[in-house]
Amino acid sequence: MTLADQPVEVGVERNADRAYEVIRERLVMLDIRPGEPINDERLAAELGVGRTPVREAVKRLERDRLVVAYPRRGTFATAVDLTDLADISEIRKQLEPTAAARAARTASTGARARLEALARSIAEIDDGDDPREVLRRDVHVHREIYRASGNPHLEQILITLDGHATRIWCLFLDRLPDVADHVREHVALLQAIVAGDETAAADLTLAHVTGFEAAVRALL
């Protein structure tokens, strides 16, 4: 079901949440190109919601640095800034291993079962799969790990940063040779978390974040 199929009268707040998720995904996957103007009215019509929830969603996206508003000129998707790569990596190298270790230590039985199923499905990713689809699954794995960390603040920061990292991925998707490999690395990580092995989870995560940065740098 797409957003347009949802009933309109479910309240501004819920519509704002959904508008946020949909617009965010378009920005992260570069379906809305960097620098492209954001048109409230058109988005509202397209998503089948009012302009108020869309405006609220756009404000949240501004806090995420995915859009930028200029008085009298309008709102635009931010540029994908490659100088950000080092800055974002500096934070992720600290927080991603912390989240993975915490997930390994504290995840509930239910969360572990979800991560285990995810590991099985990720293992089946094929080199020939659509890279954008592979990337979406990568985002999904990250999000599940953040959630399993049980720290909502950590989860929120990492979702934001992963969004920026994913935009960089998307920019280079044609030139990054081994996206499927990169995402399959998560199988071992997920298994370490499920097994409660904090050290392995942290180490594998650090290697993953560092590997991403190195892969992009190699193209520059």
Partner: protein
Amino acid sequence: MHDVVVGRIVTVSIPGLDELEADPEGMSFADRAYLAIRDKLIMLDIRPGEAIVESELSAELQFGRTPVREALKRLEADRLVVSYPRRGTFATGVDVADLRHISQIRVNLEPVAARTAADVASAATREHLARLADDVHGLDAVAVDRTELMRWDHKVHRAIYRAAGNPHLEDVLVRYYNLATRIYCLFLDRLPSVADHVEEHTNLLRAIAAGDADTAAAVTLEHVTGFEKSVRAIV
């Protein structure tokens, strides 16, 4: 037209405000409104979750509506207020139960900021931090009131975040500094001396200014951990 610098403008706070603070004459009305409202939010004179009415604030603080509105926009970037279209602006919530989660983030990132600042800060920034260290060291803790001490604490932390030169890191740290400090203020009456906490900054600032990254990181870790311990001892 929308070149690579576009993304950097959004949430980076007010360049030069730290310098302006030393010289209130040079501050715009919006700068002054920002500081006044920020103090109220951090010191919890405006309670978490409380509705913020522009006209009331502007009457109370004797500023026009426009500087107050501009100040609120900056405070929203600091995550101290949140505004919803058609519903209004509110002080963001403070949840003591979050302290553990917040500390986990700060324990990880504060030392990174101090270390990076020690490694990368420009000569001018180092000079600024060294001067700040002298100012903090010279404070007469008995004569200076709590609001003033919190302002110094704030100033030191933000100067370090800025000096690290990573706007994403700065953004996260400002946000969590604000949250942590508001939790601190919930218990201010019962906490041991705030002055000692602020004085700890002298060594930290001097380590950064001297480029001693290991000391800067170690002192910061101790500072953040000590802060959490003192609050937890009371909660």
